[in-house]
């Protein structure tokens, strides 16, 4: 069992930090303090934090904040970043309008 799965581990109390109001996920406007608080509320994986706060689920799909969120969560859990599984990748990879997503067309036109 790695340290992320061992939920009995004591990670200490939530201690406020001066830069807690700094925005980390700018698409969904999630702050550093909110991410740290979520870890102390029991969200120990990137997936849990993501479901709880929507980090990395906005327009850029975590392209900007994925590494930043990972660093914050790992520091809060006192574990190396490599122990944290990155968020699941699933289609659609880029934000897409539903009317486009549903608009399945035939062949890609080529000049062949």
């Amino acid at each position: 069992m790695n340290q992320v799965n061992d939920r009995n581990r004591d990670i200490g109390p939530f201690v406020p930090q001066p830069d807690d109001d700094q925005i980390i996920c700018r698409c969904e406007e999630v702050t550093k303090g909110e991410i740290r608080r979520a870890v102390h509320d029991g969200m120990w994986t990137i997936t849990e934090v993501r479901r709880c706060l929507r980090t990395g689920m906005g327009l850029c799909q975590g392209q900007t904040c994925a590494k930043l969120v990972k660093r914050i969560v790992a520091a809060e859990l006192h574990i190396p970043q490599s122990e944290l599984e990155p968020a699941t990748s699933r289609a659609p990879m880029r934000p897409i309008e539903m009317r486009v997503f549903a608009n399945e067309d035939g062949e890609v036109k080529t000049d062949e």
Binding site: D19, Q22, I23, I24, R26, K32, Q61, Q63, T64, C65, A66, K67, L68, Q81, S82, P86, S89, R90, A91, P92, M93, R94, I96, E97, R99, V100, F101, A102, N103, E104, D105, G106, E107, V108, T110, D111, E112
Partner: protein, 526 residues
């Protein structure tokens, strides 16, 4: 469902190279790219590339992009733009969005060459307009012709930070400083030296404390950090700027590979989440390949070779070429890649502290912390010699994979030898004819032609000059040292432009002879 022999995602240097290689073997290839223009980052690269002839060294990046597109066209590669691949599945099916339509396609092989995206670093005010990735600033300048700002602070001294800083200067921006939390400059010393000799200061072990402004950036405060990257109180420095560029590394955009179920690994040396793959880019799923930055951050020259190797491997995988035929081609490609991955900046040597060059010469510490080789350090490097008459002085002091200077001199005055990362040396008894090809041909702008004693108390120095307006003969001004500080008065005695120089103009300045080994740049009066 439409079927292709090979579907390539990403029309950058890696993707196009692979597509060309595969199409030339008779495969039916389609390339998708989400951008409106192909070429990936190549069309933003206005500087001359490093490497050797086979890596297209001395050619500017955007020209390499044009060459690749022409090759792809000749080979019959279909490139579809504004086409975003939004899904990749295990059985090599892709879903692509083209305008407002969704298409499903199947490839017998898939190559993912989606490249990388810029990292960010949070600080107070980092979401203000005016804070942008260095790559974004480069896109504004070089693709759209828009000035990103007037006064810029660059965070990050890797090659991206250094190259973009120089391009900002070329665009007429004022670069107030380069800062980096690391204690040493991360990119090539020759790139740093180009920026430093324009008078731009470097602040190593410094990072951004705060970006100021209410609705856009109006200033920035940097401060020194200790070895644990904690701010040292009282070391703050303020700059009035309207733009902050961030060049703190790249992350592979490997999500499609992860989605398909390829084995992934978190490798900080390769930039983050990357697929497990062999030297040809074959991932854990047969038929799914990767090449370029998505498989580990490097640069465009190695991405092109990786792409070609993947193209070869895919052709073999699908039976388009017999095993034996590709062995020789592969060997040659591997050799080219091996050459690029040697030297001080080799991927395997990332993060290691190096004291000397491969030749055993102590490295310039001033170069690593201030961006220029100090006057008392330069003499120990083999490219720096003294003789009567005009001769090249090569201020290339780190082992980087680059050797055009050796090929470009018609009189064979400069030698690097077989190993392209060796420091260039001036060949004994060679006769320099002052043609200027080495000065213009050095991608690092590190070669100067010097006549140390004209006999009238003056010396003449020929420097590479890539700024506008170009000074004219007879102009007077100030000669700047390697550190960008004024050293003496100077006058322009000759201005050379030639198509062979490929827009690197040569400025010959006259200075008092005692400054022959100090003056390295020219600033016009006024």
């Amino acid at each position: 469902m439409q079927r292709f022999d090979l579907i390539v995602v990403g029309a950058g240097p890696a993707g196009l190279s692979a597509a060309i290689e595969a199409a030339e073997k008779g495969m039916r290839v389609i390339v998708f790219d989400e951008n409106a223009k192909p070429g990936g980052q190549l069309f933003k690269q206005i500087h001359k590339f490093f490497g050797s002839k086979e890596h297209r060294a001395r050619v500017r990046g955007f020209v390499i992009g044009q060459q690749l597109l022409e090759e792809a066209d000749r080979a019959g590669v279909q490139v579809v733009l504004d086409a975003t691949v939004i899904g990749l599945y295990q059985d090599k099916e892709i879903v692509v969005k083209i305008r407002d339509e969704i298409h499903h396609l199947k490839g017998d092989a898939i190559l993912i060459a989606t490249g990388a995206s810029e990292n960010m670093v949070p600080f107070d005010g980092w979401t203000l307009p005016g804070v942008m990735g260095a790559g974004a600033a480069q896109t504004l300048m070089n693709l759209h012709g828009v000035l990103p700002g007037k006064r810029v602070l660059m965070l990050g001294t890797g090659n991206v930070g250094l190259v973009v800083s120089f391009q900002l200067l070329q665009c007429g921006c004022e670069v107030v400083a380069l800062a980096d939390a690391a204690p040493a400059i991360g990119g090539y010393g020759v790139h740093a030296a180009k920026v430093a000799r324009c008078g731009v200061p470097f602040y190593l072990s410094h990072t951004i404390r705060e970006a100021e402004g209410t609705d856009h950036v109006t200033g920035v405060t940097i401060a020194k950090v200790d070895e644990h990257f904690q701010f040292i109180p009282g070391t703050e420095k303020h700059f009035d700027v309207d733009t902050i560029c961030v060049a703190v590394g790249l992350s592979p955009m490997s999500q499609l590979l992860k989605m398909a179920g390829c084995s992934m690994v978190d490798d900080p040396k390769r930039g983050g989440q990357v697929p497990v793959c062999d030297e040809f880019g074959a991932t854990s799923i047969p038929g799914i390949y990767c090449a370029g930055d998505v498989s580990g951050i490097e640069e465009a020259s190695s991405a092109m070779i990786e792409g070609r190797m993947a193209g070869e491997a895919i052709a073999r995988y699908l039976g388009y070429i017999p095993e034996a035929d590709c062995k020789q081609a592969e060997k040659q490609l591997e050799r080219g890649l091996f050459q690029l991955r040697r030297g001080m900046f080799a991927p395997g040597r990332k993060g290691t502290k190096q004291e000397t060059t491969d030749e055993g010469i102590r490295l310039s510490q001033t170069l690593l912390t201030k961006g220029y080789v100090a006057d008392d350090e330069i003499e120990r490097f083999p490219g720096v010699t003294h003789r009567v008459g005009v001769h090249p002085v090569i201020e290339c002091t780190q082992n980087i994979p680059c050797n055009p200077c050796q090929d470009v001199c018609p009189k064979h005055c400069i030698s690097i030898g077989e190993n392209i990362t060796s420091l260039p040396t001036v060949v004994l008894d060679s006769t320099c004819i002052n043609c200027g090809m080495c000065v213009a041909g050095c991608s690092g702008q590190a070669i100067f032609l010097i006549d140390e004693d004209k006999g009238d108390g003056t010396a003449e120095i020929t420097v590479p000059y890539e700024f506008l307006p170009l000074p004219s003969e007879g102009d007077t001004g100030t000669a700047l040292g390697r550190d960008g500080q004024p050293v003496c008065g100077a006058s322009v005695v000759r201005v050379r432009r030639s198509s062979a120089f490929d827009k690197t103009n040569l400025l010959t300045i006259s200075v008092p002879k005692e400054y022959a080994m100090k003056a390295r740049f020219f600033k016009r009066c006024g």
